[in-house]
Symmetry: C3
Subunit: 491 residues, 3 copies
């Protein structure tokens, strides 16, 4: 089907060039204006963030301001915020000449996405039917950041191959699909997914992979010279890796229940991630030549444990359970980078720049399965009667659901996220293939030059100055750059 | 007047050279010793940070340790702290050979400034007249960091052109002026300024611009070779940008009222900043040649929305109101970089290295205006009776103030901050022109070399090693550097 | 004894080469598996992180979820977490070609160490004798991170000279020794050490120095070409410095008493660190030629004040007391880098790559002494009766201890940490000298090349492209690298 689809869309082939000047400003202006109008119509503060809080406190007999949800969630929110902007942004700076786009376009689409997410998620989850308004608070901000994460994951798969306008379109549809899928999984199916293994990572991963598959570039090796890292770009990427790794416990615990829910989710994630680091190093060293470690694995696979523990983070997974999940994910994710990614590119025609399959999609599926098993095996002995009810929200119309049944629904939720990811990705991929978005030619992929004012040249200043000083060769008083150096032998 | 002033101070012209060896250690030692003495005389813990807290809790019937102000404000304090040291520090690392000074001197003057700020703000705001002591707690630390921010903004305007000793002087006077101005605006005029649009950004911006105007260097183009970025220095600067952007909600909410005050300020800032990103990208792409985006705009203008929403962040600005403020600021700030900065340099003779006019001064003024309008239009319907009183602190001697009148006082506060910024800046600029501070010559501006032990040369090691291995040309066994390379063709 | 010991171990000399392929994966797999088994047998959630929290709350009449220890400590925990992974990791990236190993192996050993620390500290401190299980919560995570810090400090002393397998061994024994030493100091001697001046820094520093002494490499100058920084690696290191500096108040307050304990510890640390910055700049400028400042000092000595205020941070050290401690440490630590480190290398044969003596060991000892003095001079007048009891935990079997006696025990604690550091370090050093760990030869020290897949070359792309465009010299259409450039003149 891949080939067939690729041929079918060949009619859309066009001379590729980025005409950002018109399209990018237009998209940004129009969409931001739309956001203002929609926010004006729909979005208001909730009772904890409005000045009515004083009255609300009294009416609900809340003893102290510290019980405002803000104090339960704001530290976690800020950690998540760092993951979205510095974590995802810098993780993608590893390419030698695409760091501006990595961190810059990540910034752009996240800033747009979170506004659209507040609306989409608001319509589905927190619309107040008495006045038709969406009431937002700190939990809404966290959820918006989560929603954006799905699209940033997808960006990882197409990094370097799409224009910023295409990214904006990818985000618009991605957020929309996310909100629907999330509504089905969390509200209709009533699956639990604290850290979004299914809702965020599985969906986001497959969404990106499907788009990348539709946008397959057979001649991508024309930009092979740029498709790698340099020493310092790898160090920059480690900033992203570490902030993701460190703050993942906050990610998985940000919207879980107050009290033990947040506490337990943080512990489980902390442990799972620690185990992943060891098995990632082990596998990387085992399979690379001379036993060397590969930065690509350390930058990415070390995070897989956080993804895979997402769904079950708030369950009684037990500390050793978290370690086991982390252990397995470190192994599988690293093997993914070594064996599956090349296979996917060669056979399946999926070019996955950042390896989101190994970091998000596959660990997300594992996370969904772990969540289903953990839920299915939950018991009153371990959780306590009230604990079981609280953890799985067995109340209201779901009062009679048993853990075993819940396990089944968890698995159903996983399937929904996969279907939405792949289906939505193919759809959006076809839209992105329309010859109106101005993406770059194959030989100009992975190059900031086409979107950014890149500093002219990396001048090698201090040596030159020293050279002139020491040798008293004052013929060249101006700055000599590496560039001019190359012309010397020709002269 | 500019020319006149420049001529008037020409008598002070002197051979420019940095004699840091004596002056910098002397200033640091003497001032730090003075701090110790003044702290010994004046500064003590407040009742929430002293061991008397147990007794205080009992006496005031406080039910739990969690109601200690520490737990309301410490997470925000740490975010602000990151903004001051990593945010401001790294934002200024964009110059190709001034990263050490950017991050290093930022570190130095912030560390000095916060001590002096604790004293100055303490004398004005929290002096306990019963024992003549200043009682400090976590809110004092936040306020000290805020106070320092004003001086770091001013550093941005003179970056690369002044010596560290001059920066210390700039900070000493800056903090002093700040404390006075803040006292007038917040206490006497009783204006509200949660995020410091007026008190911090307007004051700091104009303070720096006025100093830069007095210190105008007509021959600054002599160091033009260093007045730009290189690829990786731009990526470093993005670290600063992102930490400022992400933690700005904490900045604007750090000292607002417990409960809904902090909650609302965070939401407003989050939204305003998101909108700014989109319009900054739009404008940058629209006005740059070939529709490319300029890193300078992304690094700076994306932050303008946070500045401009500072004063009104705790008011009922409404989510769409925040988006509108962000929208406008992204546009104006980017236009500022494209049109106003060159104009200021050419016509007004103000050399503004980091463009603080566009990032702080102008958005700060907008923020003051937005604050005045929002205050003037506040109503009991929107705020609730108690909410209105709490938000604007209409109590004590200000009990009878109405929102409309408050709006007028807000505007008055803005004027005070501008007057203090410009007036204080000219004064301090003249002091900094005295021929005793040892600043560098025009051709050595923007160069770390004059203040730092800079690593000798950027050796190009791995290629050489490989080269030798592959080609078996073992004539050069030592490390060959780019430097030596340049001498080759001459030989 | 040094020479004697060096000769005694010469029998162990061996051809040095890293055979990571077998040993590193084996160590990682076996140890991680062991962790899973031990966690399965021993580690469970405590009552605040398990689903039983609802019942526990009711039973103990706790009014709100916000009194879960999670909300008191989680923000500080995340700050400490950043210090461990980004702080320590990036601080060591200053070497020109060892940044991958600095940040990568720091990541590896910290991820292993924290698991082992949860077990070791659990057995000593929180073993529940009713069921033989260790119950963990957020405070356990913080303590595990603290424990890891000791080993990361030791890594700083041997940076560039040991293999990752050796580091794993160093960590295994380091954590073990730490837990024993900590048990003796905090539980048996009942000394207080909130920020771990003695337990973490003194122990960790001397542990690393002793190992480095045993592993002395007489021919280390063979890798001198790599034993320095380049411009951007120094900027990367500043990321580490600043995150350590900013979050140190969280480090010292993370496990102190709720309420005023955490509040006061944060204030004291904040002030001490500020003073250190000024005296570090002063000393650096005073002793370097031409009054320039040395990045090595700014990166390291500015942190000494945080180390030295660790023990006394929760005491009534008074704000000016904190400044005095910071003042002294900035001076001594910088002098250490200028005078003591060269002396130690030349005379004592201790090669201390990062200068942990000046940043951790010596300031740690100062911190221990400051703590002893502050404790000995504590009085009911200053602390209040209840405050004194709370601060020093004068209850249970220590009910009758007086401040003076406590001072003596504090000093005893310091001695224990030194003895454990030096003794343990020599022991572990001898183990690491066994010819089974595969460390690198002297000429390959400080080189990532032997452990990492390092990107081939730093291509100088954009200039070439521009050059071709402008000059129409299309003979070279491929990418020309600096490498190929060197072969030109030979052709």
């Amino acid at each position: 089907m891949g080939n067939c689809l690729h041929r079918a869309t060949e009619c859309c082939e066009r001379p590729k060039h980025p005409y950002m000047r018109i399209s990018l400003p237009a998209v940004c202006f129009v969409w931001q204006t739309a956001m203002i109008i929609l926010f004006g119509v729909f979005i208001r503060y909730n009772e904890e963030s409005s000045t009515r809080w004083v009255e609300y406190r009294k009416a609900n007999n809340i003893s102290s301001d510290v019980e405002n949800d803000f104090y339960f969630r704001y530290p976690s929110f800020q950690d998540v915020h760092v993951m979205i902007f510095v974590g995802f942004g810098f993780l993608m700076t590893f390419l030698k000449r695409y760091s501006f786009s990595a961190v810059g376009f990540n910034f752009l689409i996240a800033a747009f996405g979170l506004q659209w997410a507040l609306l989409m998620q608001g319509w589905f989850h927190s619309l107040d039917y008495t006045d038709g308004k969406i009431k937002i608070g700190v939990e809404s901000l966290i959820n918006a950041d989560f929603c954006v994460a799905g699209c940033l994951i997808a960006y990882g798969a197409v990094l370097g191959k799409v224009s910023p306008v295409q990214l904006m379109v990818l985000t618009l549809f991605g957020i929309t699909l996310f909100a629907i899928e999330e509504f089905i999984i969390l509200d209709l199916i009533h699956a639990k997914d604290a850290g979004g293994s299914m809702v965020i990572h599985t969906f986001g991963g497959y969404y990106g992979l499907a788009i990348s598959w539709v946008l397959y570039r057979p001649n991508l090796e024309q930009s092979k010279r740029l498709h790698g890292s340099v020493y310092h770009s790898d160090v920059f990427a480690m900033i992203g890796t570490l902030f993701l790794w460190m703050f993942w416990p906050s990610f998985n615990s940000a919207i879980t229940d107050h009290g033990d829910g947040q506490h337990r989710a943080a512990i489980n994630t902390y442990l799972s991630l620690a185990a992943t680091v060891l098995t990632t190093f082990a596998l990387s060293s085992l399979f690379e030549k001379h036993g060397k470690v590969d930065m690509v694995h350390i930058q990415n696979s070390t995070l897989a444990g956080g993804v895979a523990v997402g769904t079950a983070a708030e369950f009684m997974l037990m500390p050793y359970g978290s370690l086991i999940v982390g252990f397995i994910c470190g192994v599988l994710s690293t093997l993914g980078y070594i064996f599956i990614s090349p296979f996917m590119e060669r056979v399946l025609k999926i070019q996955d720049t950042c390896g989101v399959h190994n970091l998000h999609a596959m660990p997300g599926v594992i996370g969904g399965i772990v969540g289903a098993i953990t839920a299915a095996t939950a018991s009153v002995e371990v959780y306590g009667r009230e604990g079981l009810k609280n953890t799985f929200d067995f109340e209201g119309e779901f009062e009679d659901r048993t853990p075993t049944v819940q396990g089944g629904y968890q698995a159903a939720g996983l399937c929904v996220s996969i279907v939405f990811g792949i289906g939505g990705g193919i759809l959006v991929g076809l839209i992105l293939k329309l010859p109106i978005w101005g993406d770059v030619a194959d030989e100009n992929c992975f190059d900031d030059e086409f979107y950014w004012e890149v500093p002219d040249e990396e001048e090698v200043l201090p040596p030159i100055l020293e050279y002139n000083n020491h040798m008293n060769l004052n013929k060249r008083t101006d700055v000599v750059t590496v560039e001019s150096n190359f012309s010397e032998p020709q002269g």
